[in-house]
C-alpha cells in the first residue's frame, strides 16, 4: 500500500487505491427464518401463477373457439394472450426472486487476466509468419503476387453483380420524367373511371383523378403512381397565379398528387384556405397560388397539369406535365 503525497490538497493522486468490496450487509431473510420462509412462499406463489396461466391458456383454447365475428376473435386473443403472459412471466419472476432472495448473496471477485499471450507464444507466431513468407518467396515472384491480388479483388463481383442487377429490372430513369397524360386524354374519377363534365363541378369540389384507360395500361399501378391528379374547382377570382397561361378552366385547376418532397399522395384539402396538406411531413401547398409551398419540407410546387374542355364538355389534358412529378432524383437536374 503506497500512500499518496499531496501538497495543499489540490493535486489529484497519481494512483487511486483499490477501495475493495463494500461491506457485506445481510438480507432480512438471512437473519430472520420467518422472512426466508416468506420469500419461499412468494416464489411458490409465482410458480403457481405460471401454472394457472398455462391451465387458463389450455382452457381458453378449448372453451373459447373463434367464430367468424370480431367479438369471438377478440375474446380468444385476449384470453390466450393473458394465459401465455402469466405462464411465462410467472416462471421468469419466480426464478429471479429465487436467486435474489433465497440463494446466497455473497459478493465474489474475479480478477481480470492480462489479454496478451505470453511473449514466447507471440514470438513463435511471428516466426511462423516470416518463415511462411520466406518460403513462398512472394517478394521475388511478382507475377504470382499480381495474380493473387487480382483474383481476390475479382471475387466480390460474384456477390455485387447479382445484387445490383436484381435491384430493379428497369434502369430507364427516363420513365420517371413522363406520365400517361397526353393531349386530349380525358380526366376520370378515381376509382370508378367516369369522365368529368366541367359544368357539373361545384365551386369547392375536389375530385381525385386518374387518366382515362388506366386499367388497359401495361403496368396500371406504375402508371397510376405517377399520373394521379387532384382536381379542385375554386372561385376563378380566388386564383392568384398558376404555372402556365390558360392551364386551368373557369376555376378548375389540377395538380399532381405526388408530393415533391418524398412522394406521398398530397390530398388533405382545406376548402376555405385553399391549402393542400401532405399527410406524411405536413408540407402545405397553396392551390390558389400555383401550388406554392407555404409550409413544410417540400422545396418545389406540385407540378400543374394543363387542362381544357373537349367538344362534349368533358375535362381533358392539354399535355403531359411540363416537369417530372414527385420527389427529386439525381438525373432530374434541370
Amino acid at each position: 500500500m503506497s500512500t499518496v503525497e499531496r501538497d495543499e490538497g489540490t493535486q489529484t493522486p497519481d494512483r487511486f487505491e483499490d477501495p475493495g468490496l463494500p461491506q457485506h450487509t445481510p438480507r432480512r431473510g438471512d437473519l430472520d427464518p420467518k422472512q426466508n420462509k416468506k420469500s419461499e412462499r412468494i416464489v411458490l406463489a409465482l410458480f403457481a401463477l405460471s401454472s394457472l396461466g398455462t391451465v387458463g391458456f389450455l382452457v381458453a383454447y378449448f372453451a373459447l373457439p373463434t367464430g367468424g365475428d370480431a367479438t369471438t376473435i377478440f375474446r380468444s386473443n385476449v384470453s390466450l394472450g393473458l394465459g401465455l403472459a402469466f405462464a411465462l412471466l410467472g416462471i421468469g419472476a419466480a426464478a429471479i426472486h429465487w436467486s435474489k432472495a433465497i440463494m446466497n448473496n455473497h459478493e465474489r471477485v474475479e480478477a481480470r487476466h492480462p489479454m496478451a499471450s505470453p511473449p514466447e507464444v507471440r514470438e513463435a507466431a511471428v516466426k511462423n509468419l516470416t518463415d511462411g513468407t520466406e518460403d513462398s518467396r512472394i517478394s521475388r515472384r511478382g507475377l504470382l503476387k499480381t495474380a493473387l491480388v487480382g483474383s481476390v479483388a475479382l471475387f466480390p463481383l460474384t456477390i455485387l453483380v447479382p445484387l445490383v442487377g436484381e435491384v430493379g429490372e428497369d434502369w430507364n430513369v427516363g420513365a420517371l420524367k413522363h406520365t400517361m397524360w397526353r393531349k386530349g386524354l380525358k380526366l376520370t374519377v378515381d376509382p370508378s373511371g367516369r369522365p368529368i363534365k366541367a359544368s357539373d363541378l361545384q365551386v369547392g369540389s375536389v375530385v381525385h383523378v386518374i387518366p382515362e384507360g388506366l386499367d388497359e395500361a401495361e403496368h396500371p399501378l406504375d402508371e397510376k403512381a405517377k399520373a394521379v391528379v387532384l382536381l379542385v374547382r375554386l372561385n376563378p377570382d380566388d386564383i392568384r397565379s398558376e404555372q402556365g397561361d390558360g392551364w386551368s378552366y373557369e376555376g378548375i385547376i389540377a395538380f399532381s398528387k405526388i408530393c415533391t418532397h418524398v412522394g406521398c399522395p398530397v390530398a388533405l384539402y382545406e376548402q376555405q384556405t385553399h391549402h393542400l396538406l401532405c399527410p406524411c411531413h405536413q408540407s402545405t401547398f397553396d392551390v390558389a397560388d400555383g401550388a406554392r409551398v407555404v409550409f413544410g419540407p417540400a422545396r418545389r410546387p406540385l407540378p400543374q397539369l394543363p387542362i381544357a374542355v373537349d367538344d362534349e364538355g368533358y375535362l381533358v389534358a392539354q399535355d403531359d406535365f411540363d416537369q417530372p412529378i414527385g420527389a427529386s432524383f439525381w438525373e432530374r437536374l434541370r
Binding site: 438480507r27 432480512r28 431473510g29 365475428d69 370480431a70 367479438t71 376473435i73 377478440f74 386473443n77 385476449v78 394472450g81 429471479i96 435474489k100 432472495a101 448473496n105 374519377v189 378515381d190 376509382p191 370508378s192 367516369r194 368529368i196 363534365k197 357539373d200 363541378l201 361545384q202 365551386v203 369547392g204 369540389s205 375536389v206 375530385v207 381525385h208 379542385v232 399522395p265 390530398a267 388533405l268 384539402y269 382545406e270 376548402q271 376555405q272 384556405t273 391549402h275 396538406l277 399527410p279 405536413q282 402545405t284 409550409f295
Partner: protein, 262 residues
C-alpha cells in the same frame, strides 16, 4: 377503527366525489340528450314553414349571416347552400356557433326537429341548393360496403383516417370522427362540404356511392379482433403506448432484476 376514521376524512375525498359527480352528470346527459333523430324524411314544405323559418333566422342567424342571408365579414352567404347544409350545420349543433374559433365544433343541438325543418325551408327558398336526402338514399343496408371502402380510401381517408376515426388538420382545425355521425349527416356533409371539407358533389361521388360509403362507415368503430385499438389513430397513440408504457415496463423490469434484495 381509528385508521378507518382517518381515511374517511382524506383531503382528496372532495375531489373524488366531484369526479364521480361529473362522470354521473356526463352519463345522464349522454343518455338523455343524445340525438334521437331517425332519418327524418323531408316532409312537404309549405309557405308558412318558410315564413316561420325566416323569423327563426332573423332571431338566431341574421347577426352573422346578414339580414338577407347574403353573408357578412363574419360568416358566408347562405344563398344556394340548400336545405342539406342547414340540416347538417344546425342538426349537429355546429350552428349557431357559440364562439369564433378555427372551426365550429359539434355541440348539443339548439333547435328541435320542427325548427330545423323550418330553417332549412327558409334557406332553401333563397336559392336552389342540395336538399335533405331521403331515408332510402342513406340506408346503410342498401349500400355496398366493399365499394364504399374503395371510395372512402380514395376521397376521405387522408383526413378522416382509414377507418373514419378522424385526424388533425392545420391551425387547430381537425377532421372529426365519423363513427357516431348519423347517415343523413354524413351524406349531407359530402354533398355540401361544410367548413374546411371540400364538396363531393354527385359527379364526384354519385348518390349510390355515397350510400356505399355510409355502409362502410356503419361497420367501423366496433369490436376490434386485435385487442386494444387505442382509438384507431395509428402511429400517434400506438407510439405513445409503445414508448411510454412498453418501454417503461421494460426499464422497470430491468431495474428490479438488477436491484439488491433487501
Amino acid at each position: 377503527m381509528k385508521s378507518l376514521a382517518v381515511r374517511r376524512h382524506d383531503r382528496r375525498a372532495p375531489l373524488v366525489l366531484l369526479a364521480l359527480a361529473l362522470a354521473l352528470m356526463g352519463a345522464l346527459y349522454a343518455t338523455a340528450v343524445a340525438p334521437s333523430r331517425a332519418d327524418a324524411s323531408p316532409a312537404q314544405v309549405g309557405e308558412e314553414d318558410v315564413v316561420a323559418g325566416g323569423r327563426l333566422f332573423e332571431a338566431n342567424c341574421a347577426s352573422c349571416h346578414g339580414p338577407q342571408a347574403t353573408g357578412t365579414d363574419a360568416a358566408p352567404s347562405l344563398v344556394g347552400v340548400g336545405a342539406a347544409a342547414v340540416d347538417f350545420q344546425v342538426g349537429t349543433g355546429r350552428m349557431p356557433m357559440a364562439a369564433s374559433g378555427p372551426q365550429a365544433p359539434v355541440k348539443p343541438v339548439q333547435f328541435d326537429d320542427e325548427q330545423i325543418r323550418r330553417l332549412a325551408a327558409f334557406v332553401a327558398s333563397l336559392g336552389p341548393g342540395p336538399s335533405i336526402p331521403t331515408a332510402e338514399q342513406v340506408d346503410p343496408a342498401l349500400g355496398d360496403a366493399a365499394n364504399g371502402m374503395a371510395i372512402f380510401r380514395t376521397n376521405c381517408a387522408m383526413c378522416h383516417n382509414a377507418v373514419g376515426a378522424g385526424g388533425a388538420l392545420s391551425q387547430g382545425k381537425f377532421a372529426p370522427n365519423l363513427w357516431e355521425s348519423s347517415p343523413t349527416h354524413v351524406f349531407e356533409a359530402m354533398l355540401t362540404g361544410p367548413q374546411s371539407m371540400p364538396v363531393f358533389g354527385d359527379p364526384t361521388i354519385t348518390p349510390e356511392e355515397k350510400r356505399d360509403v355510409i355502409a362502410f362507415l356503419e361497420r367501423q368503430g366496433g369490436q376490434n379482433p386485435g385487442g386494444l385499438d387505442l382509438g384507431s389513430l395509428g402511429p400517434v397513440s400506438e407510439g405513445l403506448w409503445a414508448w411510454i408504457v412498453g418501454l417503461g415496463a421494460c426499464i422497470a423490469g430491468a431495474v428490479w432484476i438488477g436491484a439488491r434484495s433487501s
